[in-house]
Structures are given as structure tokens and as C-alpha cells.
């Protein structure tokens, strides 16, 4: 079935949104055995970027990685099973929501320590360059990661070696409850990065097409070795609390109005409006089926047994 670009965007976006909504619905039952840092509200960044990637490209992300994992085409059933702590999960239940990976789909590493996958993605990009492959590394992180020293070490090295990497800063303004301007002197991450010798832009309105166009254009240049690393800062909004399925406006660190501005310009609604009802409904029906199946799969899968505890620590050579 050939989908138009808008249909693909809608399908990917709708799937992530519905998965997050289902997690929110299920979470109070305690079936999910892992803290969840939801991507809901931030889907446009992962959808826009990942639609511009090929299957050879490899992404690295953070503990808020559901959207990136799904947008890159990784298996939904294995993700939900992982959240449920089941042995059919993408990491046999040893990773959980914060450590999703799907090497076969180019989802290499996600990490619970802010900023830690940035230098790893840079090293991976060096490997791609050394092996003369045309693939590209993509590093997703938040505005909090920019506070970390390793962010700056990584920018410096990526620029120094002109590596094939796209940096995506999802700036949702908050590190847990701490606003960017409580942690950084200026709201200009993208401009500061230029000082390292990295081409950089910012997209402020969360427009999924703009994000896609940017990624498409510069991934092509990176592949043709016409440029070194590229940086994109995307302003976005985390609809829910830092971790967990709830709203947290009662805490008073941010206002409901601030989030409502983003909810009003929800890209999902715009994408749907660009499709005929028939096409949109067909996509929705398919996705609903997938989501239902994934949760059922996780539900009926088994937990790993004790024999799994000590395995997977080291790669053992075959004797």
C-alpha cells in the first residue's frame, strides 16, 4: 500500500499518541512495571525527523524515548511487553521504558542519565565515517542535556572531526520542574552551538513538515559529505508530568495556559484535517488494532524466570 507523506506522518503520529494514551489509561492498574516518561505532546519532533531517515540510519535517545522508538519503526509489541517487564520485551524486561532499543531498526541506545547517549552517538558517527558508510547518526536529547558538560565535549568533537550526525534538541523548557531560564543564561541553545562550528537552526512552532523538511535536506547533505554535523533545536511541549501519566499543574511550576497553547495547535489534528475522513479512519482503524494487539501480547506474555537473572552480562565467545 503506497501512503502519501501526509498519510505516513499521520499514521506514525497517531500511533504514538494512541500508545501514550493507552499507557496513561493502563498505568494505574500497575501492570506497567517501569516508570514512564511520556512523549505525548512531543511527537512531532520524532515523527518529522524519523520520516526523513533510512533504515540504515541509527538513532540514540533519552529516557523520554517512546516517540523516537516508534517513529523509527521499532516493534510496538516488544515495547509494550518491555514496559510490562515481560521476557518478550525488546530487552527481555531488563531495560524497561527508559532503556528501549531495537538495533535491527536502528534504535541503538536510550539512557536514563541525561546527556549520556550524546557522545555515544558521536562515536557511532565516527565509526560510520571510518567505515565509509553513507548512513547517518541522529542524537535526540532535551534542553536539560545542554546543561551537562558532556554535551559540550560532544559538540566540540563532532565539529572537530566533521562527523555525519544530526543533533536534535527537543526543548520542552523543563528539566523535571526547572525552567530552562533557571538553568541557562539565555534561551538560545541553537545559537550557542554555532560557536563550535556546527550549522544550526531552530523551529519554534512544532510544525512537523518543517521539521521533516529540515531533516530531509540536511541528511542528504550529510550523506553526500557536503557538510559536517547539523543541529536542530525544536521547541515543544511535554503535556504530562516529568514522569508518570498525570497532569501536574497543581505543583505551580508552570501554568495550564502555557500547555494549552500547544494543545490548541496540536499537529495531530492538523494532519488529520489534511486527509480525507475515509483515509484517516482507515489509518485509525489499523492503528487501533495494532495497539490493542500489542497490549494483549504484553498481557499474555510471561515474565522472565530466575534463569534469566545472570545472563546477558557479558558476550561469551563460542568455545
Amino acid at each position: 500500500m503506497n501512503l502519501t507523506l501526509t498519510e505516513k506522518f499521520y499514521r506514525s503520529f497517531y500511533k504514538i499518541r494512541r500508545v501514550e494514551e493507552e499507557i496513561i489509561r493502563i498505568y494505574p492498574t500497575d501492570k506497567i512495571k517501569s516508570p514512564v516518561h511520556l512523549s505525548i505532546g512531543q511527537e512531532a519532533v520524532s515523527v518529522g525527523v524519523c520520516q526523513a531517515l533510512s533504515s540504515q540510519d541509527v538513532v540514540f535517545g533519552s529516557y523520554r524515548g517512546h516517540a523516537m522508538y516508534l517513529a523509527k519503526g521499532a516493534d510496538l509489541k516488544k515495547m509494550i511487553a518491555e514496559l510490562y517487564g515481560k521476557k518478550t520485551g525488546c530487552a527481555k524486561g531488563k531495560g524497561g521504558s527508559m532503556h528501549l532499543s531495537a538495533v535491527e531498526k536502528g534504535v541503538m541506545v536510550t539512557s536514563a542519565i541525561v546527556g549520556t547517549t550524546i557522545p555515544v552517538s558521536v562515536g557511532y558517527a565516527y565509526g560510520l565515517k571510518l567505515k565509509k558508510l553513507s548512513a547517518c547518526a541522529v542524537s535526540f536529547f532535551g534542553d536539560g542535556a545542554v546543561d551537562e558538560g558532556v554535551f559540550h565535549e560532544s559538540m566540540n568533537f563532532a565539529a572537530l572531526k566533521k562527523l555525519p550526525i544530526l543533533f536534535i534538541c527537543e526543548n520542552n523548557r523543563y528539566a523535571i520542574h526547572s525552567h530552562q531560564l533557571k538553568r541557562q543564561r539565555y534561551d538560545n541553545i541553537w545559537e550557542r552551538v554555532k560557536g563550535y562550528g556546527i550549522f544550526s537552526e531552530r523551529i519554534e512552532d512544532g510544525d512537523v513538515f518543517k521539521i521533516y523538511d529540515f531533516a530531509k535536506k540536511y541528511i542528504a547533505k550529510i550523506r553526500k559529505k557536503e557538510c559536517g554535523p547539523i543541529f536542530l533545536e525544536c521547541l515543544t511541549c511535554r503535556w504530562k508530568e516529568h514522569v508518570g501519566p498525570n497532569d501536574d499543574f497543581h505543583l505551580g511550576y508552570r501554568s495550564k495556559e502555557e500547555v494549552d497553547i500547544w494543545k490548541k495547535k496540536d499537529e495531530l489534528i492538523r494532519l488529520r484535517s489534511l486527509l480525507s475522513s475515509k483515509k484517516a479512519e482507515r489509518i485509525e482503524k489499523e492503528v487501533e488494532g495494532e495497539v490493542e494487539k500489542a497490549f494483549a501480547y504484553a498481557e499474555k506474555s510471561e515474565f522472565p524466570g530466575e534463569e534469566e537473572l545472570l545472563t546477558d552480562l557479558f558476550f561469551e565467545k563460542k568455545q
Partner: protein, 347 residues
Amino acid sequence: MKRILSYPEAIREAIECEMARDASVVVIGQGVDDPKAILGTTKGLVERFGPERVFDTPLSEDGMTGVALGLALAGLRPIHTHIRMDFILLAMNQIVNMAAKMRYMSGGKVRVSMVIRATIGKSWGQGAQHSQSLYPMLMNIPGLKIVAPATPYDAKGCMIEAVEDHNTVLFIEHRSLYYQKGPVPQGRYRTHFGKARILSKGGDITLIGISQMAIECLRAKKYLEEIGVNAEVIDLVSLSSLDMETIESSIKKTKKVVVVDNAWMPCAAGAEIISRLVEKGLLEGVAAQRMGFSFVPCPTTPSLEKYFYPDAKKIALKAANMIFPHRKGWKPKTEIKIEEIEFKGPF
């Protein structure tokens, strides 16, 4: 005629051998391509293999350890070099939170084939921040392999094994071992991790040394010969998988053991080995002692530093007191220089 190489020559030869064999081996770290070439251990590599495979790094230990991990995930085999072990403290996040856990957290899907070289300093006024030997901390982390070979033979064998291993291996070198010379065969051979090396057989007491302390134990053995004591000297080599079998069979024979850590003693190799022996009920009728650094930062002045480290005489005295508890006051008559102690095999 046996082929004799120094410890750094043995390391260099192992790295060159692996780089020639496998194009995915890369050498990175501060100063790896500079004129001093990490005390000669990376000499000539950039000329032979080019600046893409052998490169200097910015002073970004945390970032560059992440880069090395990324190289490994991309299918390369990085050897990341730190000329001071103290510097790896800046890289602990990547070593402990990432490299050690990557395979487990992915349910066994990724491999991290990475070697981290760390050189321990000593003397010449190295002081508190250029002399630390941090392997006890690392021994406490699942997912890391740690080796600290004491002889040139094992330096080469362990490096080849480390490069070929599909996991994160910490390769710990002691600056004082760089003066060691010994037989090193040409070509490839591997020292299997998890096997200790009996440097010298004996029946009266077991001396277990880690890294350079293995050589001090050999020197102590010479001193002890003056009073008719024949010590068995064991170089532990592997710190992440302790060769308890070799230790146990030695102790069965000698009934006395001293473990000499090249580090502070709390929670170090001595503590671990003796605990395991206690748990197995193997210390009944066995005298067991630990030695290690004084529990302060390393002082810079030699007048204090000499009290800070264990050395051959202190080890010999400890052993003598264990064997002849009533005959106090012995001191070795001769002076054996560390340079005179070279282990010639058999391997």
C-alpha cells in the same frame, strides 16, 4: 635465546599486532600520536595505521569514553588510553552507567568491544592525584572485565585477549612495571582472563600481589630466602574473575597467605579474596593478612611516601612474623633492587 622485551614494548607489540590483524581496531586517547607516544606504547602506530585509526583526543574524558563506546557499537574495537588512571574518574559515568550496563540493559543485543587502558603512577613526586589505583571501585561493578598484568609476557597476552574480547576490558598498567623486561614470544598468543599466574613456587607462605605488588612479592621472596623461607608468589592478573582455584591450592600447601593490594585496602582484592576463603571455610588454621596503601591520599614527599606504599621489605617482614611469631627483629641483610627482579618464566 629467549626474546626479551620491556613491558611497554610488549604492550606496543600487542597493539600493533591487533591493528595489523583487524582493521576495526582503533587507538584513541590524549597523546597517543604525540612524540612521547604514551611512554612508547603507541610508538609508530599513527605512521603505520594512519590518523583515522590512531588519534589524539580533546581533554574530554567523559565525552571521549562515550565516543569509544559509540565506536564499539558501530563495530569497531577501540583502545582508549588514559596516561593516568586518576583521569578515569572523569569518565566514570560512561564506564559505569553505560559501558558496563549496555549489554544487560538491551537484553543481550549489543556488544561493547572496548579496551580502556589506565596507567597507575608512583614516586617522583606524583602526589595524590597522579598515583591512584582505582581498581577496587571497578571490581564492584558487574559488566566490567579488569586485568592488571605484572609481566611483559602477560602484558602482551592480556592486551591481545582484551582487544579480542567482546566486552569492556579495563587494562591496568603500573608505571613502575615499565622497567620490567622479560621473555615475550613473537606473534599472537593470549593470556586467558580468570587465570592467576604462579610467578614462583614455594611451600612456606603464599604471597599474592596485584600489578606491581606482584614484583614486590618476588623481591620479598628473595629476602625471605635469607631465613630459609620459600614463598610461593602469585600474580593475580585478573581482577574481575578471581582465580580462587590457584589461590586455594596454594594455601592448602602453605597455610599462610598475604594479599598485597596495589591500592587502599578497604573493599579491595585482599578483602574479597579473604572473604571468599572464609565463606568456604578454608581459613581454618590458616594465617591470613592484607597489605595495601596507607589510608590517606598519597603524599608527595619521598620521606612520607616510603611509609605510604607496601614494599618488598615490608612484605618480607610481615611474612617472617607470620612464620616465626616469636623471632622478632629480623631485617634483610642484603638490598635487592627492583630492577634486579625480572620474571623469566616459565609461562
